[in-house]
Symmetry: D2
Subunit: 490 residues, 4 copies
């Protein structure tokens, strides 16, 4: 509807009403204009109507939606299924060009705008969420791990002699594999225990750099979502040896404590889209403080890429607005306090305790020391019981689990240390968590602990289809299906 | 996206590409402009993308979608469920005002445009499909029967003395009830048999008008979808007595033979939306040759009405274009020929015949004389067998069924005559029919007839879940569920 | 996915996980089962996922979605546009049969279930919202006015001598037209003024019944949404004269004060779907205390009808749950108090007052006496100013407006009385209203009143595209488009 | 709807009809069961209704859609925007686990099924389309180039000494970059000219292997979509030197001539999803003949990945069925013949010729020798003119273009050879092409060539908004925007 169309409309419907309608339209256009001009996340979230209209508008700028287009190339944005066309708002051409994932496409002005805007809006949010010095970022439709691999592959061209990546231990497979996949040898730096908390061993990192020779070290690869990562001190350390520093900031955007360094060196930090922006799994943001290096990474991706994660994150941020996103961060924090307090109480009732990990603002843990002592099998059984009771995300960590990843054997896997103090149960307050999640978790956990203490667990009959779940599992039972072995290889 | 937005876009993406995108947009706008200026169905159908964009644009012209709107009235277009909002494209205010279903609403310029355009596009199609003299029409979200009632109620104000409606018999309940509901006494005019064909008894109509006195006759209420309706002759007849004439043109738009008169009198003709335009059940078009009378009817509807049927028909006609609609009419006609030919062959194999009804271009019938003579129960059983074999729409008409509708007892109900020649099976080639419909029907009908001839039908076991349907029912069985009584009161 | 499918799934994916998935499915099925068995609105609202799955399930029970169906009837539920098919969840066959809008259809088990369930769930809500004695109701896809017409047409068959409908005045066109359309003569009963409040004149109703003769009175037609309707007393009155009583309960469900009678006579009460259930315009609920009479009405509708309003209201109630609906009622009430209090304050600032109408729980009014005295044009101008400032629903009522509806001239139209005390501004707190609606309304009203007091309104330039709306209209101007005549014929 | 729900339904609606509905449901379930049991693409495509129902069913098996789920992990499948949730059918957990992109997820049985089924159905199609020996494949949400990188990274672990990748030249950037990104040194093998056709230089490949030493060669990296790739001969060659062979089969599935080898060695072949299956850009299929190696690659991807490309390709193949997919392949082939024939004619009119490239079944080329000779600028101008006339995909290849990609300078870039015979225009008949694409292309190309011959191109005014596009560009003009430099850096 342009002005000519409105004029034509006035011949059918009272001009005063059409004019009112036109004013209504103007307000939507203004929102879009502000977005295009400023490239920032709007303060107030947009309603679905504006978002969908905007996406439709972007789509008709792509050649596959031109009414008079004729395509005789190999890649014309044709779609066989209308279901597929609709769910992508007919934005089919993906993002980037063969040379650069951040580049614009001649055939697809709309998709190109989508790509640019998404990166710009995400940059705005990264700054707002705490890393104000971030100068550049881009969304990449790959897992955090694969995105880290891309960063390492980029660094390889700068450091042809490097063979090692120094990695303060964090027990997550993809983290470790990201280095192996890139073709480097991970050098694991074990954490040191301070009270209940595992902390990065800065001395060990430094010693290892000197030992291997800085030029043979591709980079230090640290992780913010660990117990107590000491990113800032690491960043200062690596700076003096001129060793690059790549940060796995997986969950970091959502927590203001997890951010990078100012005075040290961080070449790039990578965060998961789903863990920070409540979108489906599959994308990451690669960000940094030097436009040149970030662009170098974006030019490393060979080929065009899916615009689906970009689309998701743009829709999400437009619908939340900075106001909505801040609200989510605030609620997460509140729920973390609430969860800590309540787990503490519950733990004390069972002669366990809330582990004291003040540097971890997202996850917490409750010891399972006594449970483990009474019956080592009960620990894994607890995990299994929670799973069948539809508690997701709570992980039971037993002492001494061995796990081999890409040929490297970890002792005490999942505990981030060869020998942690005790078995424990892990829970997190991540973005989007609701009070009822916490409440249900506590209720179900309480019942499971009670059942385990009674020790009559094994006699119970099979778990019925879990239809009492909503009735708060009054008859919380341990069922045949509770097989920890099949269920808990995370 | 207005021109300012495109300019802003050029700062993010190469200007040449954005300009190309803008040209793409222009083409969509032009389509919309042509529609708004001409109010006609486009020749070429629109793609889904243009249609949805257009509906979005209409929606943001309605006050419920104004970003700055504040509502303190009783009816503000608020919607509790987003599912509901989306499925109506956020067009919530319905059509019309309390005074007139065709009127525009101050609060809803977009919905008002939708209403005007729909009526205009439908008028275009009515003309194109054959009734070129139509001067006015409107879509009403009511069944054909209720729409006829509205016409009768409108005529009441013009003819205060009238008590009767003359109605050449057509055995369809809602047809009859439309008169009773309006508070008039239907006077049934029995059809006369000419060959196999039932034809309107013009003499009887005329005699009845004179008998009752023209001023006591509200109108003649004829139906085009009957065997041989003689609408044109009726129209000339009523004209000379100054008696109004309302035509139930239920299926008529789809068949070029079914149209109204030129030289006679037709005050209004009413057609079903679903039967002619392949949209969901629930709407009708009231049309006529005098703007004043049609407007009088539209002003009779007290209150605002659902825009859902209007939306459906507009979307449908825009997506088909006149080209697509003509194509559907052509295919229907071809399938009618094919169906006739094949039913004729099949009938002859079973010593029955295709009834000779040259004035009915949509439905045809095959006699079930021999079947009836051998076993009268077999006739209803055939209907039941077809139903359980997922043949829908084929109706078996037994001789001599009695049916009371609103206190009036019809003999030979469904046959449109007290005593038709024989029992028969009825099938139709309606708009949207596919060749595979006809083929599957013939195959299944053949098998049912064969089974009935073998006479071993009753011994068979229960009908299994009908999973062999796609395998062309090789094991076509007659099951326990084949109870004609419960299934075939149409 | 039935149990065989789950078993097949276990061959692809770990059985324990598939079993977990099956339990997840069971919970959705249980919800559906409870709904089917009890026919009541669930306490907790359903999420979109359950609702859409349920609608899909209903749809595949309709013959148009049978994979092996072949259709050779005139009405096979074929849909030309996939947009249309989708937006109706492929439920195409509408509701009811030619004989009865509440009847089930052989071809469409799913649509029939939808129809039955909707009526049952709505009945549950009507009872819950206060009219506990309601025994029967059905959703009809027609405006409240047209639904009232249907009730009157039904009564005609019971009362063949009746010509009049007694109607305590309420100034809404469709209300009045509903009687005229049905072919009856409305007898207007003027209201009496008690303080600021207009109340039904019970003596006048009684006198008129006696005067015309009860057998000539089709019914009394009262309205709950008027200032002070006295429905209960009316209901007792009509009972003694054996005169039917039809209640227009347009906005009534949302307000617990507006309900019908217990000891008196109410034959049917009709409420708008959109005004009570936050769905699009176009449907009504006809309810009553006698199953027989309600069924009689449902059998009056000639033809199948649109299922679109039923679908909307079912989706809405399932998504809200009784909890959500009650919450909406509660919020509406709170907002009414807030609105009253604030309008009172504002009125006093401008030497006007909040009219004292304790029997109206939805609408309130602020006098415009002084404004009118200073400048009679300012009153209509105020209405126009509010319209262009995107305040919708606030109505300005001038004294002495004449309006002719269907040949009957009303004096003081909109004020429900020939001569009300003063001009006034009307605002309502209807279901779904938000605090920000009230706040924005008060701000904008305040500015308009200020501008009018300053008297410099006419000199201002044209209203710019209303882009400052969100900035709370700091530069609130009166524009050229503010033409009260074209804008405010409600 | 399980059997209990159907029983409950029978209390509301006639049991015979509900049973019919249940049979309708059974047919959908059977389709799903066949899919789950056989893991093959169905012969007949599924309708949208079955597909969407199936996706809904999968979704409710994922823990984020459990009604009683409580999540206290970092990744709980929460989605902030309902638009996003819907467009992914609430399948949020992506595919794979940290250890393996093809692994199942405990939290997400539905998404895991989706992943397994997609890979299984795609494998079925790969076999059907010609590579019958394929034993394993998986969909990966990365560009073809990045997927090739992943293959190279996997091989690195097998061949620690390797530094080189031998690459018969094909001028596409991402192809080349895939090797550089993986950290290897591409060794470009120039093609040899046979007639008009460029063919892989087998001798050169062999010589280079020997020259570098087989153990230093990571693999040979060949491409099927080149002029005449000789994949089979290459495969036999590499086998004898025990050098791996990775095939970029970008467009290959759609063309039966482009398939891999039987007697030789191919370790993996990678194809683009969008180019072969008409889905949005962003995914690839990695396939091979050894389960072990393909699994090794799938275990190389560190992290969970987006399920969006898998979802797209599954929806697409289910909706097409093998029948529909075969039909698309057939139409593509027919259009190739038609395009060849017509380009030949057009070329001859302009004293040019269709280049003779019998081994390329998708792309063809028309010489621009004479045009180039008369005016070298005209060649690039032709490309620009076609772009502004909304011809997409036709590429003009000038002689002697220099292009540097990742530090390597190509002479004659885009022509796949340092010095090809002549400039040319390239066009392709790719899957999904329509006859009208070819017709419009020929018309527009003809007009552009004519305009260039007339030589009056430069005098024309600016190109108006391209509204005449549908009128076949009667006034085909060359505009100011026709700047080849900005537009044609492919």
């Amino acid at each position: 509807m342009n002005s000519e169309n409105f004029l034509a409309g006035e011949r059918l419907v009272n001009a005063a009403y059409v004019r009112q309608g036109w004013q209504g339209r103007r307000a939507h256009e203004l929102r879009v204009r502000t977005l295009l001009e400023q490239g920032k996340c709007p303060e107030e979230g947009w309603d679905e109507s504006t978002i969908e209209l905007f996406l439709h508008e972007l789509a008709i700028m792509d050649s596959n939606n031109f009414l008079g287009n004729c395509g005789v190339g190999e890649r014309e944005g044709r779609v066989a299924s209308q279901i597929v066309a609709r769910r992508h708002y007919r934005l089919i051409h993906g993002i980037g060009r063969s040379g650069d994932i951040a580049a614009v496409q001649p055939k697809a002005a709309g998709s190109s705008l989508l790509n640019k805007l998404t990166n710009s809006v995400v940059l705005d949010i990264l700054k707002l969420a705490g890393v104000q010095a971030t100068s550049s970022c881009f969304v990449v439709p790959m897992a955090t791990g694969m995105s880290l691999t891309l960063c390492f592959l980029t660094l390889r061209h700068r450091r042809p002699k490097a063979r090692y990546i120094l990695w303060p231990r964090i027990d997550q497979k993809s983290c470790f594999k990201s280095m192996v996949t890139a073709g480097f040898e991970p050098v694991v730096i074990e954490n040191v225990l301070e009270g209940d908390e595992l902390r990065t061993d800065l001395q060990a990192v430094e010693a290892k750099i000197l030992d291997l020779g800085p030029e043979h070290v591709l980079c230090v690869h640290s992780t913010t979502s660990c117990f107590a990562p000491r990113i800032e001190e690491l960043a200062e350390d690596v700076r003096q040896y001129d060793v690059p520093h790549i940060v796995n900031n997986a969950y970091g955007v959502q927590s203001s404590k997890c951010h990078g360094a100012r005075r040290g060196r961080i070449d790039a930090f990578v965060q998961s889209l789903d863990k920070n922006f409540m979108v489906p799994v599959g994308g990451a943001v690669i960000a940094g403080f030097s436009d040149a290096f970030i662009q170098e990474i974006s030019k490393m991706y060979p080929g065009r890429a899916s615009s689906s994660p970009s689309l998701d994150v743009l829709i999400t941020l437009l619908s939340l607005g900075t106001k909505g996103y801040r609200q989510l961060l605030r609620e997460r924090k509140e729920m973390f306090s609430y969860l800590s307090m309540e787990v503490k109480k519950l733990a004390e009732n069972y002669n366990e305790r809330l582990l004291d990990t003040p540097h971890n603002p997202i996850s917490l843990a409750m010891s399972l020391r006594e449970l483990d002592e009474r019956n080592p099998e009960a620990v894994t059984q607890l995990g299994s019981m929670l799973f069948t009771r539809q508690v997701s995300g709570a992980r039971v960590v037993s002492l001494g689990t061995l796990q081999t990843v890409s040929g490297y054997t970890f002792k005490g896997f999942m505990a981030h240390a060869d020998q942690y103090l005790c078995s424990y149960l892990n829970a997190a307050s991540a973005i989007g968590i609701k009070k009822e999640d916490v409440e249900m978790f506590l209720k179900r956990l309480g019942k499971c602990l009670k059942a385990l203490r009674r020790g009559k667990d094994q006699q119970d009959g099979p778990l019925l289809p879990n239809v009492d779940m909503d009735a708060d599992m009054e008859k919380c039972k341990i069922g045949e299906g509770d097989d920890p072995k099949t269920l808990f290889a995370a």
